[in-house]
Symmetry: C2
Subunit: 457 residues, 2 copies
């Protein structure tokens, strides 16, 4: 009996919508539209090849703001606007130098390093001293000030290659980069070298943000490629007293004005209820930021474009949000949440794509159990597209600040096996993104947005 | 009560095995071994970069036979041997020429084409004539001899970009390439141009085997890149009488001797029962055959290597089979099945990896329903690795001939969204394969082989 009522209600909902077709058919339409006419890939080509690296505060970041505003206006979205904020303006300066200077076995050896985001530089003369290797903060504590003072601390804990969930492995190894410099500074270290956060052994150093605890813990910090980390580690076993030269020219300049870019399609029934779909427009300065996170930006725009193209009139207002400054400050995400609160914008849900533009696997859900169950009720609609994962997990950095407003958060989850090969390196370039994979992801996001818009959450 | 009995039996099976650990733990060991110590990726580097393209009958194919035999011997497999057979020896000859010679709008235009495998060439002078475009055999029939005779037939049916299952789309569009030349010849066509079988629009022509119905239907046949197919098609609408020049220097030489390579780990309880795991060693001549099918070969070797490395003693004899001549003859697959029958080798199962070295999704199963259900009973063991697909479907071309002996066939199913971008082209190269994705696939194959070996099927 309950079943009959539920079925009847569902039929009525469908009829009231005036589509006269099932959700399965609508979702098929969404995929067909994106797979045949998707524009995300060509947009990404422009963003990465014509604009390029988009470090917060850089001229390219400003260009990306202008460009994405124009793209969404040209697509005929109902409303496109900027959200202004102050952002940090970190500069790498001239290329870093890292050099083993007196190896008995190898003489002078140049190593592949890159300054960590937000880090300070050395003096122009650089630092010339010994290196001590540790795996974690406990080992650092054991060494103590006596063995650390005046030296460079080398954090060399591997990102676990056995972890099938690459983001979990990243999380487990990330403390070295985020807090390593500050922790080492407390024991008198003069600089820090961190093993790059990747499961692969290669010669690409991976940058990423670090955060100083306070002014007293500011010491220069660089990431070293995994290949060179292995080399340095093995050499230190034979020659623990080798001398290392490090120069970084990084600096934190004064803050600048920047913006989020928001494009809207107005809701027909509940225009004051929002579903936000976003990625972050900024990237590191090393590469084109193709997977991280140009992909998420163009996918978010594609979600709105495709739903509009198939003639879907959303009940709620849909927003594509290009967040600024995810990489080294999260000012965009914070500003968006602040304005949502100030303007009393009720968000039905917020979704972020910031795990690369790969073949979709599903979503991670940060919301109460009842809502998760509601989404689980839609699982079968995704089976034809081989989307199976709807599991508890984080939504994404930029939408995180909305959590305190009880907004259900959704993280788009693509296949991530090759993400950390490219992540924060010079090889995160357009050619690493596959058109079909990117578009399959956008279609999958659009399908879930459609269901949430239609039925609420 | 039934439950208690089942559980008890399962526990007893585990104890009798002497492992004292659960299947979940064993499977975790398999993944750990492959993800940490996998050798497939470095083997693939050698096969693709040092040996290179491996067209059946070529010196490189012979080198690949020697090399894979040596690799498996060096890994300490119990037995490594060759299976001899005659193979076709098709040669492309000098690079093809395809040229629009008298376009009013564009003058002379060179187009990207590649001769189809097994096709004959034109005369050295080439063919100079008109082109008629058709989408399928029905359109060809409608044109009839009157409009086809003496012309080049251009098959231009698109591989459906909307199909999420890319192999299904390939199957739907494949008749043009396989039978197009013969069908066109029946109406007096002098040559055939086939649109490349890919969902992408780019400038890479995709070769692939064609089959002449008989001697009277042998006409030259080439594949054209999708970009040039679109161009030619639009130009034909404006200038239907344009003249086209085609030269192909392909030829079928006389047959040669070649071999499958088989490596074995002997079964401890049922040495005369076999589980075969294979890929094909031959590739097209255009590229390195990295995804097609170097990946499947090295994954098959890795399955045996990893199970041996973790100390697993199989009950049944496990075989890694490097099949020869999948691309243009299937002689290796046929020979393997023939010998299995002659030697009365009972195969518990045969598995093939020939859909690329991408992130694993699961398996397609070609066996009776009872056996499929048995495998479904193991599904939960694969969830931690995000392996969800265990569906009815084909096993693979090389193991196909075993079907008449009632062997359960299993096709490894990776994510295939980008497979047909590279398939049969010059860009199917080593750099398109990701180490973790390749190894995740091998581990997934090994996990299922372990379960089938332990419990039978």
């Amino acid at each position: 009996m309950t079943r009959i009522i539920i079925v009847t209600v569902l039929i009525l909902i469908n009829i009231c919508d005036g589509y006269g077709q099932s959700d399965a058919e609508m979702i098929r339409k969404v995929y067909d539209e994106v797979l045949q006419n998707g524009q995300a890939y060509e947009q990404l080509r422009f963003l990465t090849k014509q604009i390029g690296p988009r470090l917060t505060g850089s001229p390219q970041a400003a260009a990306a703001i202008d460009w994405s505003k124009e793209v969404m206006e040209d697509l005929g979205f109902d409303n496109v606007f900027l959200q202004e904020m102050m952002v940090p303006h970190w500069k790498r300066g001239e290329k870093e130098i890292a050099r083993i200077v007196n190896s008995e076995k190898h003489g002078t050896v140049e190593l592949d390093v890159t300054a960590l985001g937000n880090s300070i530089g050395t003096s122009p003369k650089g630092v010339l001293t010994n290196v001590v290797e540790v795996k974690d903060f406990l080992e650092l504590l054991k060494l103590g000030e006596e063995q650390v003072k005046g030296k460079i601390v080398f954090f060399n804990r591997r990102m676990d290659p056995k972890s099938v969930n690459t983001f979990a492995a990243y999380g487990m190894a990330g403390d070295q980069r985020r807090s390593g410099p500050s922790e080492a500074a407390k024991f008198g270290a003069v600089a820090v070298i961190v093993r790059s956060l990747t499961q692969v052994i290669d010669d690409n150093p991976h940058t990423g943000g670090t955060r100083y605890e306070d002014e007293n813990t500011q010491i220069p910090a660089v990431a070293i490629s995994t290949e060179d980390a292995e080399f340095l580690s093995s050499l230190l076993k034979e020659e623990p007293d080798l001398t290392f030269y490090l120069r970084s020219n990084a600096m934190m300049d004064k803050e600048k004005i920047s913006h989020n870019v928001v494009g809207e399609i107005k809701g027909s029934q509940y225009p004051n209820e929002y579903i936000a779909i976003g990625g972050h427009l900024d990237s590191w300065d090393l590469a084109e930021g193709a997977h991280d996170d140009g992909a998420g930006c163009v996918q978010s725009i594609e979600v709105l474009r495709a739903l509009k193209a198939i003639g879907y009139k959303p009940k709620r207002t849909l927003r594509a949000v290009m967040f600024m400054n995810e990489e080294n400050g999260l000012r965009g995400g914070r500003k968006y949440a602040e304005l949502a609160e100030t303007n009393k914008e009720k968000h039905t849900a917020a979704m972020e794509s910031d795990r690369g533009g790969f073949t979709p696997k599903g979503f991670t859900l940060d919301m109460d159990e009842q809502k998760i169950q509601r989404i689980h009720g839609w699982k079968d609609l995704f089976k034809p597209y081989e989307i199976f994962v709807f599991e508890a997990g984080g939504g994404g950095a930029d939408i995180g600040p909305l959590k305190s407003q009880n907004v259900p958060l959704i993280g788009f989850k693509p296949d991530d096996q090759r993400y950390f090969k490219y992540h924060h390196t010079a090889i995160d370039t357009f050619d690493k993104v596959d058109e079909r994979e990117l578009h399959m992801g956008a279609a999958t996001m659009a399908a879930l947005v459609y269901l949430i818009d239609k039925y609420g959450l």
